[in-house]
Amino acid sequence: MTIEDRIIAYFDGGLSSAERIELMREIRGSSEAEKIFNEHRLLRHLAERSSSSIHAPDYFADRLDAIVASAPQTNTVSTWSYSRRLVPIILLLLLGAGIGSALLNNGNAGRQATSLRRNVPSVAPKIALEQEQVSSSDLIHPTINYKAIKLTNLANSFVTASDKLQTINQAQDELPIIVRTPVNDILENVTMSRENVHSLAELRSGTDAMPANRFEAGLQTSSGFTYPADAQSIKPFAGQRLSVGYYLTSSDVVGVRLTSGLYQVPGSPVISIESGVTFIQQSLETRRAWGGELYGSHHIAGILGTPLTAVVTVSGGMIPNGYTLAAEAGVRIPTGNNFAFSVDFALARIHSNISRPSAILANADASSAPVTYSGPDVRTTFNGSLHYGIQYIF
């Protein structure tokens, strides 16, 4: 029995404990044996992840079932590593936002982490093998014709650039122990129905290709501070916004927002007569107003080796008798194929066109008696807010 036969038997569960130990010893001592082992390991890994959508002859499906059933659970290490990185981030965000669990329909961060862990395989490529080019002997032969494997469902399984990078990151987790050539061969020969990615690098950047889903819709609420402000500078749940965006590329989005927010503006002037003098008084007030915004976002997928997508946004819009300008930075946390939990921190300049005191005084009639004015000279405020909500990509 050749070493490759024993490796196959190892994955098929056909070796005794002593034989497995011996095989491992040989693999550690031989780079050639390690290469063969890793090739088979990769194959099992891919087959495991694609077991739900294999289109192959019956004998091949049976074979894969056997492989999957006996496959070592090495894959769970890498997926758990994502979840382990995500847990503290998610906990922090949920604690800060306060409403994350409600938005995600998850009772706690632990359950969310479990959900994320389960979601990772769901966005992995689904392999379809061409019946006429792949045989069972190909499958078990060390010179298996990887180029014959077509990942025809790959494009369909990618929702965003984040998903693509997630897949690649998973593959790269294997690279230190898997020969790179077969991986690259696979990726170089991926036939994607829409994106036509031809290399790992292109797939990693993935920013120029048009995504399969071209729109996003988001609903967020926010809490933040305003400076200057009336008595209450912190405004919990100050804003809500509904956004609809269009993907110019897989990483650049433009869109519109309908906003409802709390703004600091001087109240309507109150005019009275004091000691024969016309007295005009204003005070700073918190007012809710509807507004509209245009925004542009840039997405950076797979930050820090996680499925998170960083998003930076600039926006500008109109509020009643004023305008807003804002810069934002945030993350998208995938919670499914089409949903993401979104968190953005925004710094905004809010300007009101309400007349300044000097203008109010200039327009006041002082022909018969002096006019006095008391009030804040505040027409521009600086807002910082944490927006959090959900996003749907379609």
Partner: protein, 219 residues
Amino acid sequence: MGSGKKILSVLFVLTGVSATLASCSVADAPPNSPAPVKNVADYYYPLSDVGMQYAYLRTTNIGSDTVRLKMQGNDAMSSAIGNTQCFAADLYKIGAFQSDLFFAVNDSEAYTLGTISCGTLGGYWLDLKTPLTEHLQWTFTTNGSYASITVTATVIHRGLKMKMPSGMTFDDVTEVLYVTNNADTTTKWFARGVGMVYSTSNQSDNYFGSQMKFISEIK
């Protein structure tokens, strides 16, 4: 471009945007209450500026006239309340001298002494007192026509903007209401760096009449 470089580039752009926002005065100053005034002389006549004249439109029970208040500097007989210095000013109509008015001022108090010189303080009027903050009250007793009267002064507003009938504006004005035990009322507005710019009173038989409007300063 690597992911790290991309993030750095984006952070660089965001920093630039933030700096741009900051450079164009991101927010207006908060509407804090005016700080307490520690030197009431800042809101009083420039008494030591000898020769400076203020023109006022005065309304009395016999009509309106234009009067001038000409600063004469320190009074030679200065011996005033506490640590104040005594100043004199001529209140006159053009071509006709009317009377000398005397004032006593230090950092914490400003008095109108009337026509009686600094040596006699029976009829003074305590115009301003530190710390000059909204709602601050003080009382003083002064000699009326027939009997002493007690006056309660209250700072009604601080930091007012004020537009005069002439169109002149002042940015930092203090309004003080004086109420006597006879329910007579006088209100005066003092502008920082100028002094009294307006007064109203239901008693017209005083030097300032029922109304006194600042018109201009003449050097």
